[in-house]
Symmetry: C2
Subunit: 305 residues, 2 copies
Amino acid sequence: MAISRVAIIGLGLLGGSVGLAIGEFLPDLTTTGFDSDPATRARAGHRALVGTVCGSAAEAVADADLVIFCVPVGSIVSAAREIRDSLPGHTIISDVGSSKQTVGEALAAALPKHTIIPAHPVAGTERSGPDAGFATLFQHRWCILTPGPDVPAEAVADLSAFWEGLGARIEVMDAAHHDLVLAVTSHIPHLIAYTIVGTASDLEEVTRGEVIKYSAGGFRDFTRIAASDPTMWRDVFLHNRGAVLEMLGRFTEDLTAMQRAIRSGDGEALFDLFTRTRDIRRSIIEEGQDDARPDFGRADHGEND
Amino acid sequence: MAISRVAIIGLGLLGGSVGLAIGEFLPDLTTTGFDSDPATRARAGHRALVGTVCGSAAEAVADADLVIFCVPVGSIVSAAREIRDSLPGHTIISDVGSSKQTVGEALAAALPKHTIIPAHPVAGTERSGPDAGFATLFQHRWCILTPGPDVPAEAVADLSAFWEGLGARIEVMDAAHHDLVLAVTSHIPHLIAYTIVGTASDLEEVTRGEVIKYSAGGFRDFTRIAASDPTMWRDVFLHNRGAVLEMLGRFTEDLTAMQRAIRSGDGEALFDLFTRTRDIRRSIIEEGQDDARPDFGRADHGEND
């Protein structure tokens, strides 16, 4: 593999996990890292998330073969500007953001002379910050690469080998298609979870204490998703606006149909939907993206570290 | 406690867990049980969910001080009719259903001479059937009782002591209020989860394989909820129609506001909601209704049995 020095910009859940995964699974690689928050840099040094925590982004990337932006999507452009003048000519630029089309365009505009391969490892937890990362976050997860048409195949192969080294499986697709797929498998689920938790918090007839006490009926699982990083998710919705609004439209149509079925007492329509949705769960477990065990097999994946 | 013989009608996740919990935490009590499905009765005997698996509901209740219906809400009335002629006069009638107002009325109509105390232990998993139950399901969970105004205080005290013996905490409330609270903490979350899983299954631009592969972005947690028992949930929505439609209206209003924020690029509105929802998560963990650990502390509660 042509990549031997990796610079990680942003040392939260994702950046920290990339650093720890390199240390565990690709120990021959050298890692540098930077975070704009001094407290995060201190924690990153303490946890040894990367080999060297640098005092500036420019310093972190000075020798890098690969730079990975692990900051909220809305901060990538300013982060790219910070490193522009220190970046070696051969460096591959990538990221881990949850939306790809606008990010790819913004990176291309900010760093027009470099090879840019937007990437999205589809993995995460509801936790954030420098203490949240762990080395096995990417094991058995898919990492989607969305290189533009002019990117050399060799660079895509190098980045693929890197992510495979961290335990991920690779898929290459068009950025616009990525954004549509993730709108439905990630962005709309988060939007819905945030919204219902907000709705429940604002009720007058049902107290906040009641919502909390009786959350074991299903609500608590939504609160877990709705505990995800607010800045990251604000940026996702602002940057994947089109696909999110499109998929939200489909969802609300379907929800309206369910509302009508409940109002008219159409038990058959309800039963049909509730039966159909079991199959997809089975497939997800078979494909290894979740686990039927009560702890979802998370203990095996080292999240207790 | 005045209750020494308990009959459990319906031996799925809930009925089986009640039986196993009695065996573990109230071993002096005698349990009988019945399920209309012969295969379920056979599994119930094999797992010893109750002391005696009976060949009919009438036989199961013949000596009971307490009968607990653990069948889908829509089947309670016919189950009540089956036992009417065999029921001792002093027996307390209860259930575990997720909606209470219509159930209480239906039980009162079917068994007008008996003491009826509808109950709802707010606990469960996405699994169902006679192999799904476990003894610790009710530990640290709330059990809501909704007795009518004419029910003797002593009977409420007896049923409360019974559930406390199984590890639950007791709350007594009005059935209509219960239905409103559970609509928001349980029924709407389930309806939303079922709907988004259905929406994702029906897309043409995004394949089913893609939905499955990239489900780790949040979607997989919804599929877990959407794997719950279809019959039980159909009945919940048909029996708690008013409260569900009311709460669904609030949710869709809030979702529309979020849609508008995304369309207009109002990052502040998004950030405000996404920040607000973190607090409620913290309170749920503090109150012991969920766990911040990766496995949600489920391993401690014996769900691996």
